[in-house]
């Protein structure tokens, strides 16, 4: 079997992965870094982020304010030491990105413009019109091309972590172009594969967001933390789930019900459209359930009204919103409101790490949405996630580089060689050889519908238990799933089957974690326990892989200076 050797192997080529790669080679120019991504890095889902990235850059702002907003937004489930580290690093990372060429929108004095965002008490969200994710990703990717020691494995799909005596020594990956399974060894592995939105039916996430990295770490024995914390964004296009950025509200857009009323006055009177996402999404559902939504072919919705902003503001500040509304709905947002409904957007939970991206398992790091540091707690504030990718991507890159400097290169002998052979057998001799069985796309659709139905914005004991049961059953069914495409070259169906296998593992942790949290906190809302319960649940859930269903354990929340208080906006 072909094998490659590097100092650091980064799985994922989005914002966190690329930032980690650059951080590693900047710390130690001789560091040999591999970026392994199942898509060309500029296709990574970072590209779809729209609104902006938060950082304290203004005289009127300060770190404590950003930290407090983030912690309050998290419903006090964030680890406050991580948040403090995050807010202090955020400006530095933003300026670094600007120095690398990100085409930020500018104020008249030439500084980076900032806009209002949900849950942020001042304007601190830096932006590049409404395409910050796209620009950030391309800036990082193009900058990464400068470093000869960053080696890319584009369109290589990582299937497993190679572990020797509890130490991660590399990965196995399918080179999609040839269809061969290859091992890529490294002294450290960083997981930066992003979220897993595609386990839900209605999501803003792209096709590639299948939680691969979360599953890789989980299978290797690292816990997935706070997986019940799933963010539902309030403004998705009802048919496709395409995201309409929060910046539309940051720039002054209104949410209206069927009666033309700004209904948020009943839910977040102090913040209105700039309230946090969890509360806004529930507010929309309350309106819809009370019969004050509009009925459409893709379910009930409310309106996002930008007509009062005027064509110029929309053109200058929200050109992508305009493009999306025109292209996918055939409406001009300057003259007509945009129909929206809430849907899955982001995973607060993920691979457990400390604030340097270390997972606790020697040699394994994680950053970005795949990781749970945790700074987002039970609800992430809009525009914190891109900054998070940069701050913790860089931190993980540096930490991995420092650890790699001390380690010797793993060799391609046992046990990793044996593990790789097993993996080859699992994929090519078993999965690909099945001739009789069920099409995987059906299993995937059932998982997505089940997660949507029972692990959505409102949850209760019955729905969650049902989800546990169904996802478990789907896992069994997948064992008999068939891949029709038997070719080796660029077999996307095989990759989809492996992705579904990852997704089911990750999906299972969500209802299992959620069912035990007998409280409502942030994005996790239990209809039978509608209040937050700090006495019992001010703690992180930790899902561990076992031979059976996940085992849920808990770890304490780090409180530094902000005592939990009632969360009122």
């Amino acid at each position: 079997m072909e094998h490659h050797n590097h100092d650091i192997v980064i799985v994922g080529g989005g914002a966190a992965g690329l930032r980690a790669a650059i951080a590693a080679v900047e710390l130690q120019p001789k560091m040999d870094v591999a970026v392994v991504s199942k898509v060309y890095p500029m296709r990574s889902h970072t590209v779809s982020a729209e609104g902006g990235m938060a950082a304290v850059t203004r005289e009127y702002d300060n770190f404590d304010s950003h930290a407090y907003d983030t912690i309050k937004g998290s419903d006090f489930l964030a680890d406050q030491d991580s948040v403090e580290f995050f807010v202090k690093e955020a400006p530095r990372e933003s300026y670094q990105l600007e120095h690398w060429g990100c085409p930020f929108s500018r104020d008249p004095d030439g500084r980076i413009s900032s806009r209002a965002f949900g849950g942020m008490s001042v304007k601190r969200t830096l932006f590049a019109t409404d395409k910050i994710g796209f620009h950030l990703l391309h800036t990082l990717f193009q900058t990464s091309l400068k470093y000869e020691n960053i080696h890319r494995y584009d369109e290589w799909f990582v299937t497993s972590l190679l572990v020797d005596k509890d130490r991660v020594e590399g990965v196995t990956a399918i080179e999609m172009r040839t269809g061969e399974l290859v091992t890529i060894l490294g002294k450290a592995v960083i997981i930066a594969t992003g979220g897993c939105g595609r386990i839900f039916q209605f999501t803003t996430n792209g096709w590639i967001k299948t939680g691969d990295g979360m599953a890789l770490a989980y299978r290797a024995g690292v816990p997935l933390k706070d997986m019940e914390m799933v963010q539902y964004h309030p403004t998705l296009l009802p048919n496709t789930g395409i995201l309409i950025t929060e910046a539309a509200r940051g720039e002054g857009g209104h949410l209206l019900n069927k009666d033309g009323e700004r209904f948020l006055k009943r839910y977040v009177p102090g913040k209105m459209e700039l309230g946090p996402r969890d509360i806004l999404s529930r507010a929309e559902m309350s309106e819809i359930n009370a019969g004050r939504g509009f009925d459409g072919p893709y379910g009930s919705y409310v309106n996002l009204d930008l007509t009062h902003l005027g064509e110029i503001t929309i053109e200058d500040k929200l050109p992508f919103v305009k493009e999306l509304a025109e292209k996918y709905l055939g409406i001009d947002p300057a003259h007509e409101p945009i129909p929206v409904r809430p849907g899955q957007h982001y995973m607060m939970g993920g691979v457990h790490t400390d604030m340097h991206g270390f997972t606790g398992m020697p040699g394994l790091y994680a950053a970005g949405e795949a990781a749970c540091v945790t700074m987002n707690g039970a609800n992430r504030l809009g525009s914190n996630s891109l900054t998070e990718c940069l701050v913790f991507g860089a931190a993980a890159g540096r930490a991995a580089a420092q650890s790699a400097m001390k380690e010797i290169s793993p060799s391609f002998g046992n046990p990793v060689q044996g593990e790789a052979m097993m993996e080859e057998k699992r994929i090519f001799d078993q999965l690909l050889k099945h001739e009789q069985g069920e099409r995987i796309s059906g299993i995937r659709t059932e998982m997505q519908n089940e997660m949507e139905k029972d692990v959505g914005i409102y949850r209760d004991e019955n729905s969650l238990k049902e989800a546990c049961r169904i996802v478990g059953a789907l896992k069994t069914r997948l064992k008999n799933g068939i891949v029709e495409d038997k070719d080796h070259v660029y077999n996307t169906e095989l990759v989809s089957a492996l992705e579904l296998d990852f997704m089911l593992d990750v999906a299972e942790t969500i209802p299992y974690s959620a069912v035990l949290r007998h409280e409502s906190r942030g994005a996790h809302f239990r209809t039978e326990y509608t209040k937050r319960d700090d006495a019992h649940f001010l703690k992180h859930s930790m899902a561990y892989k076992t031979a059976g269903p996940p085992r849920i354990d808990y770890s304490p929340v780090m409180i530094t200076r902000w005592k939990p208080e009632e969360r009122v906006y």
């Binding site: 296709r43 120095h99 008249p108 391309h138 395409i242 996918y328 495409d485 070259v489």
Partner: protein, 248 residues
């Protein structure tokens, strides 16, 4: 009401089986708000799991899903079925690229071109991050902003007849990106980048066909970037003759 149907003819080519590409026809249930990508996804999920194509964001920004649709290079996620006559649509891989499988093309040549133009900020001396951002006016931003909007979907290469004839031609997107850095007030790398774009197979191969700018799904005008880069090349060449000892 009977279900309306759309007919999708897709190029199939599986190198392990087929010596030649061929068309395969699929019937998919039609909805008015359906894009070509939805039809492909329907085929893959319900009819034929082996159909192979790239996609991800389904909102016109990741750049994965380009194909020749009824002969025109387009993003499959941004082409509605109702735009096509008779609801019969032919989907082929983008022209001018080697095909790996079905609709998946080899993009290594483009990736090499991307690296070649050094798409990063080049400074004589980097400023410290602690000093804050480089100041840039909105006017300075305007000079390069549209050229920074390229999503690398490569439709412009599929549309460019010159690239089809000579793959060494630097081509539209790479030049637009080079020009994006040339025009960025923060960049000081003109002396390094000019020789790259002003090679004979840099901008000079372009004969101003202009299809690149027509097919761009993001409103980038690569032809304009190429023309402006040519003007810079011509003035530099004349200057270097009039002022041989460094008149830049």
């Amino acid at each position: 009401m009977s279900q309306e149907i759309a007919t999708i003819r897709v190029t199939r080519y599986r190198p392990e089986k087929d010596s030649q590409p061929f068309f395969q026809e699929y019937k998919v249930p039609y909805r008015h708000d359906m894009v070509v990508l939805d039809a492909l996804n329907y085929i893959k999920a319900e009819l034929d799991g082996s159909l192979t194509y790239r996609w991800s964001c389904r909102m016109g920004v990741c750049g994965s899903c380009g194909a020749n649709i009824d002969g025109e290079p387009k993003l499959t996620c941004a082409s509605f079925l109702h735009e096509f006559k008779d609801r019969t649509i032919t989907v082929e891989p983008m022209s001018h690229f080697p095909v790996i499988k079905d609709l998946v093309v080899d993009m290594e040549d483009f990736m090499e071109k991307l690296v070649k133009i050094k798409p990063w900020i080049i400074r004589k001396k980097d400023s410290l991050v602690e000093e804050g951002e480089y100041r840039q006016s909105s006017k300075e931003l305007d000079r390069y902003q549209q050229f920074s909007s390229c999503i690398n979907c490569m439709l412009c290469y599929a549309a460019c007849p010159i690239y089809g004839l000579n793959e060494k031609f630097l081509g539209p997107a790479a030049t637009a990106l080079a020009y994006r850095y040339i025009e960025d007030s923060r960049d000081q790398g003109k002396d390094i980048r000019f020789p790259i774009v002003h090679e004979i197979e840099g901008v000079w191969e372009c004969t101003l066909v202009g299809e690149c700018s027509v097919v761009c799904p993001k409103g980038v005008d690569p032809m304009l970037a190429i023309q402006r880069t040519k003007i810079l090349g011509a003035t530099n060449a004349i200057k270097s003759i009039l002022m041989p000892r460094g008149g830049r």
